[in-house]
């Protein structure tokens, strides 16, 4: 494939936010809320009758928190790399 014309790498044609950042933020925030809720209700057995006595808010919240932070870190690294190399590098 031939090289695309130079105008093609104008900044407005590339997406500028690494999509992992908002995704990581969503999961970090959700995970934090669930973990906090899990901690606040950890002595309240009635809430967790449904989930077989397991404090799913706490454990799943922690899992989502870890996932969110990992995705966020990856996204920030990707963003930094993207800004360093500029839009031209991403085209090749």
């Amino acid at each position: 494939m031939k090289k695309l014309p130079a105008e093609n790498s104008a900044p407005n044609t590339t997406v500028q936010v690494d999509a992992r950042i908002p995704m990581g933020m969503l999961f970090t925030l959700t995970g934090t809320i669930l973990t906090a809720l899990g901690l606040a209700t950890r002595d309240n057995a009635a809430v967790y009758l449904k989930s077989l006595g397991i404090n799913v808010n706490l454990w799943w919240g922690l899992a989502l928190l870890v996932f969110g932070v990992v995705v966020l870190t990856l996204g920030r690294r990707g963003q930094m790399r993207m800004e360093k190399t500029g839009t031209k590098g991403r085209r090749d």
Binding site: M1, K2, L4, P5, E7, N8, N12, T13, T14, V15, Q16, V17, A19, P22, M23, M25, L26, F27, L29, T30, I33, L34, L37, G38, T41, V47, Y48, L49, K50, S51, L52, I54, V56, N57, W60, G61, L64, F67, G78, R90, R91
Partner: protein, 633 residues
Amino acid sequence: MPNLAAADWLILLIYFFFVLAAGFSLKPIMTGSKEYLQAGRALPTWLCGMAMLGAGLGSQELLGMGAAGARYGLASVGLFALGSIPAMIFTGLYLMPIYYGARSEPQALSGPRALYKPQEPSSTGENGVAARSVPEYLGLRFDQKTRALNACLFAAMALFSAGISLYAMARIFAALHVFDHIAAAWNLPPTGVLLFAMALPAALVLAYVLLGGLAGAMYNQASQFCLSVAGMLPVALLGLKKIGGWSGLKAAVPADVLHEWGGVGHAGGHSMGICAAVLVIGVGIVLGGGVWCADFRLLQTAMAARDVESARRAPLIAAAASVFVPLVLILPGLIAVALPTPRTTIVIHNENGAIYHEITIVPPAEEAGQGLVPAKADAATEKPVMGADGHAVLDYEMATPAMLLHFLPMGMLGLGLAALMACLMSGVAASLTAFNTVFACDIYQAFLAKSASDKQILKAGRWAALGGMLLVIGAACAAMRFNSILDAMVLVFAVVNAPLFATLLLGVFWKRATGHGAFAGLLAGVAGALVHHGIDLPKGAQPGIHGGWIAVLHHPRSEMVMNLGTAIVAFCLSLLVTAVVSACTEARSEAELKGLVHSLAERPPAHATWWKRPEALAGAILLAAIAVNTIFL
């Protein structure tokens, strides 16, 4: 009845906020039609793969997987694998280079296809015009009439199916009484809950598609897919624990239902009653290929990749995830039927001399159900609907939502409902962005305003999104009014996608296929599907939307067998007619077809290390899929 706690609402609201934020953050970049309709063709591989999964996991798919699990047992895991993974791999290896790289030759710009603005650098380089959609590829490979026919059929299908998805999920939200408080606060009539549950996601999807275009939809689809898994995985795990692990599940469901591949060989033994050959051809080639190789709603995500290698890997990433994800989504349905059915109980106990009556009231429809799967309830009387055989008709689509309610405590319930919402929104957004691309490129620019400027195309795309969403809501309201429209969905698929896949296959792999052939093939496939539907009627069904509206000549074993049959007939007829008519008409020269057919396409240079090539990845995925399906026998 769930009373959503503040935490549940908070999680739902956070999700809504992020969905809209993606749209707003992308708005400044939407400067031209390429950015808006094709996400600038600059997205990274992983995002395209995840968005493809998200687009493929709409509300009908999510509910359908739970329903299939409840109805057919673990056999459905194998069927979903058969119906997706081979087709995804085929797309990644062989079709994507053609779709992504398809571009008209520069000299063609002076010919009949000189409609594109040569000064627009993003879509016309020195290499000619890149296809932006599947209909546009058909236009380049065959001719404009094939393109127009497919564009119109596809546009109608995309909007119709989005409307059905919207209604199907709104029905679930109404049954779960999620929005009852809001409806009561606003004094809405009983149907108001349903309308609200349709209008809210529709408005959100419309907002982020208008703002962020395909990029906005894909950013969201990626996180919506993760959210769906995050919401459903704990349900599957808790359900498994409750039922006593894998062995408990095997003990709880009848053996023949659990037996995934056994009994497939002879028609009578299998729980779905389909013989192996029909199963493999029907599910693996026609249904799988029709969805993952021909449906532009899914392909648009891969076509937005930044280069052809990324575009090839996106379907492979989707295939890799599809090895495990369907299991997570089917298990809740399977467990739902195996759990004990809730009954109205009165427990009397004596405490310090006072007698307490603890009454748990279960609605009659739930009591008549099997496990957690309720029976279909009559809308007016709330009594369970009885089938011809005297048993209550089960509402299998409620399997997954019922599991959510049964196992998730407050907080997690919000996450689970957000997962349902996410599936709905990603599916509807996929339909909407596909529709606006096809409308702007293949209807507006190709036929209505041939000399439209890029700004006008962008504008047409935005207006198409708005108009499309109104039509989607119209379709959803029609489905609400006439419930039987829901069953027409499979027919629409057979009419649109099955013939299209046959035509695309011949177009990509057979140089001799011609425009007249493709057009005749598509028409024949559509007609064949309608006629097959018109003369077949599944046992125990009334003529009409279920089939048999011409004359009942044939009784297939079940509705599923019949639907498979319709798709296979459409596919084969389209294949045959395209081939015959092509053989009788004049073929285009090889120079014209350069880059448009497999044998004349530029091969991307193979990666130096063999295990980094897409073929190696594809092989690994196939092996993993086979291993997973063997283990779960």
